[in-house]
């Protein structure tokens, strides 16, 4: 029916806008308010940036305070943001954010356990732990963060790899461990991913990767010492990292039970060119690969004095946990760098989360993809094989990988 298309072509070409319409629009554009809304009545007020560029420790930067409430079906609205105790708590945060985080999935359906913990407040920030879920590989903890002074509306969202979703992130500092572990794992500007609810409230989740896999239950000991975020209104546009930061103390003890029924541990033991794909763990949310690369020895001089200075020892003293010889071995021995890439049976790449060259562990997000077969490739000279549609040329990848494996998941 060509005449229909001709008709539409005609309408497309004819774009004469009456002068009256243009004049009325110009009148509005020439008199735009200074961000004062007619219905919402919001104001932007710069509260004054006190911290210098790069000097962020211990300084509260209320760079922008915006009193704005924006409504959506799932949003929480309140009328008195200053009193944190009257802010309603969102009880099901997983359901709110689970599709818009890097390791997206159906946490709410997999019965994230509610956390029976009190809200913890310090320095104007209240954190309420909401739900916890463990897939045997990581502990996922959801929480609501409320800021009495506000500032969350200025958070610059960041895009997620291989997804149209945008995530609003907070930076956490502190430490965590499972009860029974010897030492704490540090959290240094660690991402909490989720969603800004309004200028005073944020809902997100933290993913804490376990050292040992497959534990059936545990107690998470989480100690936070600062909450930070990027503010898009910061003056130094090229350095907006953590322009807002609040120091304080927020401690949580969270018991959890692991969902081990959905966890698969797959032995691979494929070796080629000195590289070994040892095993792969698969949960509904992530895939973890363990790779062993050839050992390398560095020609490096490590003096006794270097060792003593680094470990804070007196002259001639040895650390009871790490002798000088062991320290030299550790500093001069490494693994060949390599990169692991995993796709499913359809060639869809799994986005990479974290990679560790020392442990050979790489984490990938499942993002609700169908996984019946995994194709694992290890490259020493990885080029970007990813095509525009998020898939990989598997034939080419197999040729160029130093080792590869096809693993049935079912």
């Amino acid at each position: 029916m060509r005449y229909f298309e001709d008709m539409m072509d005609g309408l497309q070409k004819n774009n004469e806008v009456p002068q009256m319409v243009t004049d009325r629009l110009d009148a509005v554009l020439e008199n735009l308010p200074d961000c004062e809304g007619r219905d919402v009545g919001f104001q932007m007020k710069k509260m004054g940036s006190q911290a210098k560029k790069g000097g962020k420790k211990g300084i509260w930067k209320g760079a922008v305070a915006i009193a704005a409430v924006f409504a959506a079906a799932f949003m929480v609205c309140y009328t008195n943001p200053v009193l944190a105790s009257r802010i309603p708590v969102i009880s099901q945060i997983f359901g709110l954010i689970e599709k818009g985080v890097p390791f997206s999935g159906n946490y709410s359906q997999d019965a994230g356990q509610p956390v029976a913990a009190d809200a913890v407040s310090d320095n104007g920030i209240t954190i309420t732990a909401s739900e916890v879920y463990c897939d045997g590989l990581s502990v996922f903890l959801s929480a609501q963060v409320d800021a009495g002074e506000g500032g969350f509306a200025g958070i610059l969202p960041h895009s997620l790899k291989n997804s149209d979703a945008l995530s609003d992130a907070l930076y956490l500092r502190g430490q965590w461990k499972l009860s029974g572990e010897d030492g704490y794992h540090p959290l240094n500007a660690y991402f909490m991913e989720g969603k800004v609810i309004d200028d005073h409230s944020y809902a997100g989740m933290i993913k804490l990767d376990l050292d040992s896999y497959g534990i059936s239950e545990g107690m998470l000991d989480l100690q936070l010492s600062s909450i930070g975020w990027d503010d898009m209104a910061a003056e130094t546009g090229d350095d907006i990292s953590e322009t807002c930061r609040v120091d304080g103390q927020w401690n949580f003890m969270v018991p959890f039970q692991s969902d081990l029924d959905s966890l698969k541990e797959l032995e691979v033991n494929q070796t080629q060119n000195g590289y070994t794909i040892r095993k792969v763990f698969v949960s509904p949310y992530q895939v973890v690969s363990l790779i062993e690369a050839p050992v390398t020895h560095l020609e490096k001089e490590i003096s006794r004095a270097d060792y003593e200075a680094k470990l804070g020892l007196s002259e001639g003293e040895d650390d009871p946990e790490l002798s000088y010889e062991q320290y030299v071995e550790m500093q001069t021995t490494g693994r060949q760098p390599c990169e692991t890439v995993i796709c499913n049976q359809d060639g869809e790449l799994l986005p990479m989360g974290d990679m560790s060259t020392t442990s050979g562990k790489t984490t990938f997000a499942v993002n609700e993809k169908e996984l019946s077969t995994l194709h694992v490739y290890v490259f020493t000279d990885y080029e970007d094989y990813e095509k525009a549609d998020g898939t990989i040329d598997m034939e080419s990848a197999t040729e160029r990988a130093v080792v590869s494996a096809e693993i049935s998941v079912e």
């Binding site: 029916m1 005449y3 229909f4 298309e5 008709m7 539409m8 005609g10 309408l11 497309q12 070409k13 004819n14 774009n15 004469e16 806008v17 009456p18 009256m20 319409v21 243009t22 009325r24 629009l25 009148a27 509005v28 554009l29 020439e30 735009l32 308010p33 961000c35 809304g37 007619r38 219905d39 919402v40 919001f42 932007m44 924006f70 509306a153 969202p157 895009s159 149209d164 945008l166 898009m232 209104a233």
Partner: protein, 173 residues
């Protein structure tokens, strides 16, 4: 375009103004598909510009600006349309004469106006403005299936009306 949106989000009035002017013709065509009167169209576009300026900081992805703006425009058009329906019946408001490039454009616009509003707007958004079905669904907050169905119905209606003219020239039935 994304650069203009990015600057507008940083409250650059000049960038926002340029953005609105770029989309004026598009907004006019869409609003005219719903509101027949140019006065009402001008009102809707003014309201849309103000709303977009107020809320642009909440736009998550710059590339979605046009879709987001169009949805705001349609909401304003619908509000004005409902208000008009309660106070004045159709046909009484004088319509400002539009300057037409040629007679064929008049015919095509008349054909479009002969469609029910719900078909007219999907035709405008899809064929004239070039939105994808998914985007039209987002703008109108209806399902993609509904969009496809309305497009098919619109084509059939126009085909039927067009084929009733043995000379090949259009007339309104």
């Amino acid at each position: 375009m994304d650069t203009l949106v990015h600057r507008a989000k940083k409250r650059d009035k000049a960038a926002f103004g340029e953005l609105m002017r770029i989309y004026t013709a598009s907004m006019y065509k869409i609003a005219k598909a719903i509101l027949k009167n140019d006065e009402d169209v001008a009102d809707a576009i003014q309201e849309t510009a103000l709303t977009c300026w107020e809320k642009i900081g909440m736009l998550k992805k710059d590339t979605y600006f046009k879709t987001w703006m169009t949805r705001i425009l349609i909401n304003h058009c619908n509000a004005i349309y409902r208000k008009r329906c309660r106070t004045i019946s159709d046909g009484i408001l004088p319509e400002t004469a539009a300057v037409e490039a040629d007679y064929s454009a008049v015919e095509w616009r008349e054909f479009l106006q002969s469609l029910d509003e719900k078909y007219r707007i999907v035709v405008m958004l899809y064929y004239v403005e070039g939105f994808k079905i998914r985007e039209v669904a987002q703008i109108l907050e209806i399902s993609e299936n509904t969009v496809s169905t309305r497009l098919a119905v619109a084509r059939k209606k126009m085909e039927k009306q067009y084929c009733q003219k043995p000379s090949g020239r259009m007339r309104i039935v």
